[in-house]
């Protein structure tokens, strides 16, 4: 047994958390398609959903090459406890303000995760994917920034809804910054430069600046919603998995 094996396993676990985040986020985005507040936004959210799921596909493919099973099996047919996404991303859609608030939080987090963390990975394939993902995520972030400005400056009702949604989302977003033992092992071995939790101060600072510009309240620090990285999920995740696997499970070994 080589000394790299436990580290390989740790990296697989860390990558799976990123892939599952992208998948579940893209899935919830895709549910907006045809029901966004305007047609232009249907098109935009469908495009963002394809980007997120495309990122998930890149990561699952890399995991496939690393011997972790097939792409579709990983994405759609694992038991609930095998999924490592943060709980906030699995929560069911609950209106446009929540959609924008959650996406802003996720895009900001993802920008830091890819830019400060994954791009510095000593495994070349991981750094390459991170660079590609970050390039696309920047556009998502711009999109959400435009929306929080619209809603933050679009009258009392819109501002109140946006403030409320951002508060609710942040109170469940602690799970994004949760460290696994795998993350600590990777940091110790120098494969990755730090820990996800170490991204949080920078995240909060940037979010506060964005909220100030948009005319929104000063946001709280992300908290709560813990355990997703360890496979603990809400009932919303059960619904999500059942939906995603509904057709495939009719004939799991057939071509679809």
């Amino acid at each position: 047994m080589s000394a790299r094996q436990p580290l390989d396993q740790a990296l697989n676990e860390a990558l799976l958390a990123v892939a599952d985040d992208e998948l579940v986020c893209g899935h919830r985005d895709s549910e907006w398609c045809a029901f966004a507040p305007m047609i232009e936004e249907d098109v935009a959210f469908a495009s963002i959903a394809q980007d997120e799921m495309g990122h998930a596909r890149l990561l699952y493919r890399l995991l496939e090459q690393r011997g972790q099973g097939s792409l579709d099996q990983m994405a759609f047919s694992r038991p609930l406890v095998g999924y490592k996404n943060a709980q906030i991303l699995e929560r069911q859609n609950a209106g446009w303000a929540q959609a924008i608030a959650r996406h802003l939080v996720y895009d900001l987090y993802d920008d830091l995760l890819t830019g400060l963390y994954l791009e510095a990975c000593t495994v070349g394939e991981v750094a390459d994917i991170a660079r590609l993902v970050r390039r696309e995520e920047r556009y998502h972030l711009e999109h959400q920034k435009t929306w929080i400005r619209h809603l933050g400056q679009g009258g009392a009702e819109a501002r109140a809804r946006m403030n409320g949604a951002l508060g609710d989302v942040l109170a469940e977003s602690g799970g994004l910054f949760e460290d696994l033992p795998a993350h600590r092992a990777l940091k110790e071995a120098g494969v990755l430069p730090g820990l996800p939790s170490e991204l949080q101060p920078e995240f909060s600072q940037r979010l506060a600046a964005l909220c100030l510009t948009a005319g929104l309240d000063r946001p709280a620090a992300p908290s709560g919603g813990l355990g997703g990285r360890l496979g603990r999920h809400t009932a919303d995740m059960e619904e999500c998995l059942a939906t995603m696997a509904e057709v495939i499970s009719e004939a799991p070994n057939a071509s679809w």
Binding site: F35, S47, S255
Partner: protein, 310 residues
């Protein structure tokens, strides 16, 4: 110039194959007929997204999920492009996109019959993308040379994308046809369900309304309903049979002499019922649209407000 002279000059332009642009003079009736046709198309693209969107979250596998999502995005993108054409045409009438949406959700506007039907299985997604989009491509292809220039230009792009949708649908259909017994049965059931709506798609064969004659004369429309239905049967019936599927019409047959396809007339009472807004899913789908529209009024107001501030 008198109105009569203007009309003559207008008709001469159309007769010589010139295109009419949004700021050209046109008879009121031309504007209204073109607008009605274009809005029906836009509404259809938008409502057409609803049956397929239900399957985005459930699509089997990453490849299919991304493909269905991209396809639905295309359809809504088409709606957006066509509504913009309609907005220009409707401006002198004082109508905006908001009026179009209000008419649609109130059940006052037309959209294609075919989007009033349920899509209960994954096989329906394949049949819709292959055959419903195939039927749409026949009707849209027939409009490419429409006399209204902006619409014709947008249709070129739309037809190019629809052609890709056909490939996507055909791929789903062929995969199911080559799959397990249950998958083949699911496909057969979907085809049987969609056959009548597909024959309805092109409208009744004997179009005698003065409206239609006028639209053909002005080059807004170019082909008869029956000519388009024959084109569809010629393109798709042989392929359907080649896959080994059964068409639920024992009379379907091509006359070897004339090349004309014979078929049993679908129930045209059902067609008119759906036209009147009494299709199996018409009310449910319109009410989904209406709820989304009403729930989100605050967002449209906020965006307009933010524009005023900025």
């Amino acid at each position: 110039m008198t109105d009569e002279q203007r009309l003559q000059a207008f008709e001469a332009r159309i007769a010589s194959g010139e295109k009419i642009e949004s700021d050209d003079w046109m008879p009121d009736l031309y504007r209204k007929q073109a607008l009605r046709l274009i809005l029906t198309h836009a509404n259809s693209e938008l409502m057409g997204a609803l049956p397929e969107r239900e399957w985005i979250p459930r699509a089997p596998g990453m490849h299919r999920k991304l493909a269905v999502l991209a396809k639905v995005q295309d359809e809504i993108g088409h709606a957006q492009l066509i509504y913009r054409v309609a907005e220009d045409l409707a401006r002198p009438l004082g109508l905006t996109r908001d009026d179009f949406m209000k008419d649609l959700i109130a059940g006052r506007a037309k959209f294609h019959n075919v989007f009033s039907y349920p899509a209960p299985t994954w096989a329906d997604v394949g049949v819709i993308a292959w055959l419903v989009d195939g039927a749409a491509l026949v009707t849209q292809g027939a409009l490419l040379r429409t006399s209204y220039g902006p619409y014709g230009r947008i249709l070129r792009r739309i037809c190019a994308e629809e052609a890709i949708h056909l490939k996507h649908g055909e791929d789903i259909v062929l995969t199911l046809a080559g799959g397990t017994k249950a998958q083949r049965q699911m496909l057969q059931d979907a085809l049987s369900r969609w056959w009548e709506p597909l024959l309805h798609f092109f409208g009744p064969p004997d179009e005698v309304s003065p409206n239609t004659e006028q639209m053909v004369r002005w080059g807004i429309r170019l082909k008869s309903n029956e000519a388009m239905r024959q084109e569809f049967l010629q393109n798709y019936a042989p392929k359907i049979l080649e896959i080994g599927l059964l068409v639920p019409d024992p009379a379907l047959e091509k006359d070897p002499e004339s090349g004309v396809w014979h078929y049993t007339q679908p129930d045209w009472d059902v067609f008119w019922k759906v036209v009147r807004g009494e299709g199996p899913k018409t009310k449910e789908r319109l009410s989904l649209r209406r709820l989304a529209y009403e729930d989100q009024a605050w967002i449209r107001q906020a965006v307009q407000g933010a524009h005023h501030v900025a």
